[in-house]
């Protein structure tokens, strides 16, 4: 007997794995692929069984089964219906039985409002012509960095000296996801796709493996509170440097890469002992004020001879507009706003699910505040956290973003099913793991192709919608809130988002 259920530790399973026994040919592919010990083969019975209690619903088994014999279902709760308590009973039990606060991954999964889905875009009809992107040129080129108040031009060209800029062929970049949280092959795929598409991927806080220096020109390097892997060469390889103050999935707390994921190569890259937990402190211990932040920004600019834009990433929190204004004044060239739906490799559940602000709202108030203060041109805004499709990108840009970061969306493109087990290091899709046997499941050739496809399709969709609006350059969409109308929003929400209601 492999296992026996015990009431003392019983929490009802979240999933039921159903196997059509006639269709099952006992190939055991599912057994091998389930990295959560939820599937096993019994030789005496010649049957494949599931241990539902262990199933995390990653659907790897269902995807690999050659006879389509497997269906993974969500287990229906069988407690008496209780509107107040449903969804809380099991998480309370887990705390009581096992002690300790549950750690989770990915983004906030609670049913908070999704403002993207309450905004509709405009289109041209009669009074202005729409544009066919397949016939007419359509510009998605984007520059991130400080813009001058004015420019002067002479016959020899531009006379004004411009601050360093990041040049993006499409206004979509890959968000900070560290080597450590993600496997080597995933980073390789992100790098290749960024290079191919003329955009950037962000190293995250884990430093940069030497092999990936080859992506120079398409990397944004991150400096976070743990300062893992930060040194001169690292800064030099980056096209921009991002100071991470906070992350949407876990505002106010630091990072934690469990020791199981700190392998030989990770320890080398992060410059820390193998197998020890990589803990980044909640604050930067040299940044306790906007003035301190200014010092760090300029220290990094100094170290890189003022050749690279410096970005500051914050989690969207209550006073986001005032904080962003301070960051702009502290000398940042780019502000990254990470909304509360942004993902993570590990976060305490209570933090992920209860802290932060929606990205849409934060973006609107930050853009508005910086405009009012006359400093919007000093910084570019990158919107991050919960961008799910190309229309979220269009709406974000119309609300005031210069570009967006995608993280979860990129992982989904290469297989992730959002099972929220990244922190366990057992990712059955080979994405968020350092187990060399599991991480082979991501083939960088296939993964980079998929990422490129995704970005190409999104770019086309963005062009199509811009064309429908009669806009031929992404510049003209930026902060163009007149192209947005709100549906199902109250007056205050419309006011904060700075958009008109549908019909007005």
């Amino acid at each position: 007997m492999k296992w026996m259920k015990n009431l003392k530790t019983y929490v009802p399973p979240s999933f039921v794995v159903e196997r059509d026994d006639y269709r099952c040919i006992r190939c055991k592919a599912c057994v091998e692929q389930c990295s959560f010990d939820a599937t096993f083969y019994d030789e005496d019975e010649d049957r494949v069984w599931a241990w539902n209690a262990n199933c995390v619903g990653c659907n790897r088994c269902a995807a690999i089964c050659p006879t389509d014999a497997i269906t993974v279902r969500r287990a229906d709760p069988t407690y008496r219906y209780n509107h107040n308590w449903n969804g809380h009973v099991d998480s309370l039990k887990k705390r009581a039985i096992f002690g300790g606060t549950p750690v989770v991954s990915m983004g906030n999964d609670k049913p908070y409002p999704i403002y993207w889905d309450h905004m509709l875009l405009n289109a041209s009809q009669v009074t202005n012509p729409s544009i066919d992107p397949l016939r007419e040129p359509m510009e998605l080129k984007t520059f991130l960095g400080r813009k001058p108040d004015s420019i002067s031009v002479s016959d020899d060209g531009l006379k004004t000296k411009l601050a360093p800029q990041l040049e993006l062929d499409i206004p979509i970049m890959f968000a900070a996801m560290s080597y450590g949280a993600l496997s080597y092959n995933v980073i390789e795929a992100l790098g290749r796709a960024a290079k191919e598409m003329g955009t950037y991927y962000n190293s995250g806080e884990g430093g940069l493996n030497k092999d990936h220096y080859k992506f120079k020109g398409n990397i944004i390097v991150q400096v976070a509170s743990g300062r893992f892997g930060v040194h001169k060469d690292y800064l030099d390889v980056g096209s921009a440097i991002e100071i991470k103050i906070g992350q949407g999935a876990k505002p106010g707390i630091g990072g934690h890469l469990p020791g199981e994921k700190v392998s030989e190569t990770i320890s080398e890259t992060r410059m820390m002992p193998k197998g020890s937990d990589a803990l980044s402190p909640a604050p930067h211990h040299d940044v306790y004020s906007i003035e301190d932040l200014r010092q760090l920004i300029y220290a990094l600019k100094e170290a890189t001879e003022y050749k690279k834009p410096v970005a500051v990433k914050i989690a969207c929190v209550h006073n986001v507009a005032a904080i962003a204004s301070g960051i702009a004044r502290a000398g940042a060239d780019i502000i990254v706003l990470d909304g509360f739906k942004g993902g993570t490799g590990a976060s305490p559940q209570v933090i992920r699910d209860n802290i932060g602000l929606p990205l849409e709202v934060s973006l609107a108030v930050v853009d508005e505040r910086l405009r009012q203060e006359g400093i919007r041109q000093y910084v570019s805004i990158v919107a991050s956290g919960g961008i799910r499709n190309s229309m979220d990108v269009v709406k974000a840009i119309a609300l005031g973003a210069d570009a967006v970061y995608i993280g979860t969306a990129a992982l989904i493109a290469i297989g992730c099913t959002m099972c929220q087990q990244c922190h366990t290091g057992k990712c059955a899709w080979g994405i968020s793991t350092q187990d060399p046997h599991l991480s082979k499941r991501v083939n960088p050739d296939i993964a980079s192709k998929r990422l490129i496809n995704l970005l190409e399709v999104w770019a086309l969709e963005i062009k199509e919608t811009m064309g429908a609006m009669g806009i031929n350059s992404i510049e003209s969409l930026r902060g163009n809130r007149l192209n947005l109308r709100g549906v199902g929003l109250n007056e205050k929400e419309l006011e904060i988002l700075g958009i008109l209601p549908a019909g007005e």
Partner: protein, 146 residues
């Protein structure tokens, strides 16, 4: 001439190449029937595993094939496509080819009444892309020019 290229870095140890090989060499070429109703063919590829390495191995269709040299009656021969195959009509199961193959990719089928049968990769004569290559979910096997 194209052969199956083995990309060890991408093999995820799912055994689906073996499954596909079995189905391709079955009577019905139907996955359920091949496994549940018919005498199951032997998979011509074998997936080897030694954590964290795994890879599928099948005949390399050597230019200078020791198995052909070793075969006493010409059963192991090169077909019109240039691939090394066994003639089941004449193979007597002496296993000399197995002794000779440096890759250990020839298997013994002992289910025939009289003589055994050497069983090895025939590069799926009925297909354009071999079954294992098509079935591999991670492009760990590719069909490429030598």
């Amino acid at each position: 001439m194209r052969i199956v290229k083995i990309r060890e870095d991408n093999c995820i140890f799912c055994h689906l190449c073996e499954v596909a090989c079995i189905v391709e060499h079955s009577q019905s070429k139907d996955i359920i029937k091949a496994f549940k109703r018919e005498e199951r063919p032997i998979a011509r590829c074998t997936v080897e595993f030694n954590y964290p390495i795994s890879l599928s191995i099948m005949c390399r269709h050597c230019d200078d094939a020791p198995c052909i040299e070793a075969c006493q009656n010409g059963s192991m021969h090169r077909d019109e496509r240039g691939y090394v195959v066994v003639n089941p009509q004449t193979c007597v199961g002496c296993w000399m080819c197995i002794m000779a193959c440096p890759y250990g990719v020839i298997k013994r089928d002992t289910r025939r009444e009289k003589w055994g049968l050497s069983t090895k990769c025939d590069l799926c004569p009925d297909r354009v892309i071999p079954a294992c290559v098509e079935a591999c979910p991670n492009e760990a096997l590719t069909f490429e020019e030598l």
